[in-house]
């Protein structure tokens, strides 16, 4: 089972790295879905089958479908890909990459210079998760409900079409860019 963990981890790292280097938005999205699926395999190996299913259903299913719809609506053409190629010069990405590499090396150093903590992986049933969620974390569940409601209202408000004005005197001036 250990080797499965390493293979899935390698798959997720490669897919995520390809995702941030991809020029075409749809190809990047496919790599992101592959990365999420391999992360879901890792969750299954770590003894969280319920979370693995949620990862596939909600992340790779619902959220990525939203992304696909928006990319389809925006109609990203070959001009956009050319523009991306112009934006992605070495000058723009070398500085941030060096800084995040330094932070990453610090994290590796901190993790590797301490005694190892072996995990004996046991499957945790979804029952335990649900029980804990609606006893100990009830308040947090309600906060999550508030957050989702705010998300729905915000998305509706922002995605609304502009109202048609009936008279030309009531029209606002167009924004000139």
């Amino acid at each position: 089972m250990n080797i499965l963990f390493y293979i899935a981890g390698l798959c997720s790292i490669i897919a995520t790295a390809k995702m941030i280097a991809c020029k075409n938005a749809v190809h990047a999205l496919l790599y992101l879905i592959a990365s999420l699926l391999s992360v879901s395999v890792i969750f299954f190996i770590l003894g969280a089958p319920f979370i693995a299913a949620l990862e596939v259903v909600i992340y790779a299913g619902a959220i990525m479908v939203l992304f696909v719809f928006v990319i389809m609506m925006l109609n990203v053409s070959s001009e956009g890909i050319k523009e991306e190629r112009l934006l992605l010069k070495a000058k723009t990405w070398i500085g941030p990459s060096i800084i995040s590499t330094i932070l990453f090396l610090e994290m590796i150093y901190m993790l590797l210079h301490q005694s190892f903590h072996p995990m004996v992986v046991k499957q945790l049933a979804p029952l335990a998760v649900g029980e804990l969620m609606f006893t100990k974390y009830t308040v947090v569940v309600e906060l999550a409900i508030f957050l989702l409601t705010a998300g729905i209202i915000g998305a509706y408000h922002l995605g609304e079409k502009e109202k048609t004005t009936l008279h030309r005197y009531l029209k606002k001036e167009e924004l000139i860019v």
Binding site: L36, I51, I63, F67, L74, L87, W93, K122, G151, G154
Partner: protein
């Protein structure tokens, strides 16, 4: 099977760093939102690893909250991207630096 906890945390750190790098180097707002998704997902993975290291269900509960937060964030973010595209006809964040109306 025994996987050391450090290796799970290390994997989530690697994914977080890749997501952070993507957020910093890309200027297309769709790619930035995707990188934020990767970072949230790796943070959730750290919770799962810790939860299975101590054999508690709390980590999985936290992941569910992170998941709902990510869903709300993506819906609002994508609506904002559509608004940005309507106004400026591009998804480049540098073009949206004028801050008027």
């Amino acid at each position: 099977m025994t996987i050391p906890m450090e290796q799970g945390i290390l994997l989530s750190a690697i994914l977080f760093s890749i997501g952070l790098t993507g957020l910093l180097i890309r200027r297309n707002v769709i790619f930035m939102l995707m990188s934020v998704e990767v970072m949230l997902n790796s943070a959730g993975m750290a919770f799962i690893v810790a939860g299975s290291a101590w054999n508690l269900a709390d980590g999985q509960v936290m992941f569910i909250f992170i998941l709902s937060m990510a869903a709300a964030e993506v819906s609002v973010g994508l609506a904002l991207i559509i608004q940005l595209y309507k106004k400026f006809k591009t998804t480049d964040t540098d073009k949206a630096s004028t801050m008027n109306g």
